[in-house]
Symmetry: C2
Subunit: 225 residues, 2 copies
DNA sequence: CCCCCTTTAGGAACATGTTCCGAAAGTAGC
DNA sequence: GCTACTTTCGGAACATGTTCCTAAAGGGGG
């Protein structure tokens, strides 16, 4: 624990930990035991400090997770964006999706107003890219924001639902899927029957995204171009 | 506490509470003090029983919330569905959305595979309506399920994000929205600037839904019709 | 009327996130 | 070296969801 030699002129008891060290330790724990095992007390133990001391460096656990997400998104490298507005939107939205999907615990933090409200500058390029591309396509400012928000909702929903679906512990008695549908009440679902889990398990984010972008752009620009 | 007079021939210690009573008490508490105040111990107190006794009637708190959501959705009256497939999908999806949006705490339970995995028959008509309408429009079974899932993601995302946005307590120092964007890095966001909160606050679920349905149906049926 | 079996009740205890508040460890002025 | 002030630390304590385990309350057979 090489604590820095008193940053000169500083007054008061010297900190024993920094936010950076906390984030590093948190990542270490997550990489090691999975993010479900990340608890305040465990994290404090990893740092060799008291649990409540953490609260002098982070507001609360959600804050910690947002910070971690920030860090993660910030380290992502920014892909080449296609020139066609529609493709650019799809590329940026996919980048958002992939960034979130890779971190299941992001689900605990998502929501709020997402990137825009919580995350720092490092993630904003995705928002900017979508809004800019929508503008290039002819959307007004309001329409462009609408495009972004709609895609954000879709993306968050996809990530959240898929993140929590395997949430069911193996010893959970709750049936993951009802075996039989009442053919009289819900004939189509009954016809699908056993195939539902297989169909619902497929990754169709990109297909849905394309459809959504098509619909949004068609709706936005009215009779022009 | 008029406990039923021993359901005849029953063996073992008589129950002092039923699941129905628990649900009723839970609703009472929610209506009274808001759903954030619904805690296991408070609920038990309301029923005049021990806290752990509840766990003999419900699996866990999430289970309780799902049960309440079931009950709520089941009491909804089923609207007239338009005949045009596209309009029917929009009507059914809107019904899902409104059912969820009315119960902010639904957000805590959503996810999983949503209606299909968790809720009981009373909510399935919405799923059935969407899948059936997609079929009427010419979608294959797989495409119809894709349509439903995509709309489900969008709907869940919208409900979750909007439910948690006012989540910020008033005494929360975390800024709800950064005041200034770096015009060099994110010019479009900077141009929007102050107007973002106003734009993001608008309810655009229906517009987005329409766009999404248009896109999904156009994508699904390929060269036919 | 007593003992066995079944079913439910509920207290003790634990893990977790979090708040409170007094103790600890420095610097600055004297 | 002592006192005052500032900043950080961290234990005690609390609310909550949950699991464990033992006690309570019945019926049935003898």
């Amino acid at each position: 624990m090489p604590r820095p030699p008193a940053p000169r002129g500083r007054i008061g008891r010297p900190p024993v930990t920094s936010r950076a060290q906390i984030l590093a330790a948190a990542r270490r724990l997550i990489d090691q035991d999975g993010w479900e095992k990340l608890t305040i007390r465990r994290l404090a133990a990893e740092l060799g400090i008291g649990a409540t001391t953490l609260y002098h460096h982070i507001r609360d656990k959600e804050d910690l997770l947002v910070l971690l997400l920030d860090q993660h998104v910030g380290q992502l490298e920014r892909p080449e964006l296609p020139s066609a507005p529609k493709d650019r939107i799809i590329a940026a939205a996919t980048a958002m999706h992939d960034a979130l999907a890779a971190w299941p615990w992001a689900a605990e933090v998502l929501s709020a107003d997402g990137f825009v409200g919580l995350l720092d500058e490092s993630a904003l390029w995705m928002v900017e890219a979508i809004v800019a591309a929508a503008g290039d396509h002819g959307c007004t400012q309001a329409e462009a924001v609408h495009v972004f928000r709609s895609l954000w909702y879709y993306t968050v929903g996809e990530v959240l639902v898929r993140a929590r679906s395997p949430h069911r512990r193996s010893d959970d008695r709750r049936p993951a899927h009802r075996k039989t549908f009442d053919a009289a009440r819900v004939p189509h679902l009954a016809a699908i029957g056993e195939q539902w889990p297989a169909l619902a398990g497929q990754d169709t984010y990109r297909d849905g995204l394309r459809a959504f972008v098509d619909g949004l752009l068609a709706q936005a620009t009215g009779p022009s171009t």
